[in-house]
Subunit: 269 residues, 2 copies
């Protein structure tokens, strides 16, 4: 069984980063993956020390990306912000910086153009990432987020970008975003050592919201055991991160959510 | 400009098939694509005559498919129902029978298994389709429908199935379902003469429902002009069908909807 990690967004309505670190320690969850908002709220140095003192592995920092913008100034600002994110990831010892690449610029219908902006933005920050020893983890997002969150829509597209960008890049593979892909097994094998992060949650039937209705592992239709097995066969040896954006679970007691995460993770095996 | 076709689901809350036929004639829309429920309500023979008398082209019959089922009896029933759909498509002179292939059987997490059920179901009905001269148009559906509507999730997957099944098959390409695909241009060219139907509507930002929030062409972010141009470059010479599942537009006066469809279609060019 791969060790578990808590993505802080899973309990974001009730816990800040400090409580997440304490919660992981209390529940015996060995990994954590903060979002930048809670990291900033706590202070990067204080967070780094507390995470280190708790003995937690940082499976990732969420998130960089959001490269497309309507003008050059907007794109330059995104690149600068990503450089700060790289520094933060380095400070907290994150295994990777997860990239949610961004959607179409407002008013645009130029999808190939937005994809080029993503490639250009990644190329611009890559020297900084390499210098800092931070892996840039491209996260393909579900095609239903293509317009407003990520024009990086498939696993294969992420791997093609890794091929083009070279050393220092990898893929953050989230079951929720790629479970439907007919080429999942092929692409997991192709990814191999480039699997920089592995995220799980579940697809609910019905799903009532395009962003905030992800399911607790085991409550939906994704073959999560098979998903993790594919990653392991490809050589993945890192943590399994639970990242749950869900109005339902945000309303629950976070200690209950962490207990359930552990149970479900153990049941998946 | 490719000729326009009205998919009857676009006005399903207010018009039956008879009113749709009259509406197309009144608005100078040369094509129609009925769903089976309104076809059955009118009677297949009566509908065929009225469509013929109105001089309308039938760009498709919606829909066959829904092959996966929890047991063999369920799968056999689906195949029988598809055989009836083929006969109906033949009677009304439809250019194709559009296949919404079906999701996971209830309680199942076996996605490859469901995909095999789809392939098996299609193979079972194909002799009937060939005998009737009805093209089976595989419609890749947006990955967000994978669990409950269609495990046929990408254009390439549909083309692979066409390759495997052979003569009598094609693809119904709906902009809403494939616009995000990084391989859209490649797959449209690969499809070539196998493009059996071309559907348009638009992706709204934000999209508030996974099924019933499609946008009127022009109201969203899809490059529909580019989409149609890709199909034409691939050799497509058929109609452009507007298929809009939308609570918003269902509430409107259908004559207004048809006028707007025509305007928007003309604006796309």
């Amino acid at each position: 069984m791969r060790p578990l990690s808590l993505n802080t967004v899973t309990v974001k309505e009730r816990w800040g980063l400090s409580e997440c670190i304490e919660g992981c320690a209390r529940h015996g969850i060995p990994g954590i993956s903060p979002w930048r908002d809670v990291l900033a709220a706590m202070g990067v140095d204080a967070a780094a020390k507390k995470i280190r003192d708790a003995g937690l592995t940082v499976s990732g920092l969420c998130r960089g990306g959001m490269f497309p913008a309507a003008d050059a100034a907007g794109r330059a600002a995104a690149i600068e912000d990503n450089r700060r994110a790289i520094a933060e990831a380095h400070t907290i010892g994150a295994a990777c910086l997860v990239m949610v690449c961004g959607g179409l610029p407002p008013g645009s219908r130029d999808l190939p153009g937005a994809r080029q902006m993503v490639a250009d933005g990644l190329a611009a920050i890559l020297p900084d990432a390499r210098a800092a020893g931070v892996t840039i983890a491209l996260e393909p997002l579900h095609p239903m987020t293509c317009a407003d969150r990520s024009v990086l829509s498939t696993f294969a597209q992420a791997l093609d970008l890794c091929d083009a960008l070279g050393a220092g890049t990898g893929v953050a593979v989230d079951a929720y975003h790629v479970w439907w892909d007919p080429n999942l097994a092929r692409d997991m094998a192709r990814a191999g050592s480039r699997i920089a992060g592995l995220h799980i949650c579940d697809w609910l039937v019905p799903t009532t919201d395009l962003v905030f209705d992800r399911g607790m592992p085991g409550d939906g239709v994704i073959d999560l055991a098979g998903f993790i097995a594919l990653a392991e066969s490809a050589g993945y040896g890192g943590l399994v991160e639970v990242e749950l954006l869900s109005r339902r679970w945000w309303a629950e007691d976070p200690d209950h959510v962490l207990r359930l995460m552990k149970e479900r993770h153990a049941a998946i095996g």
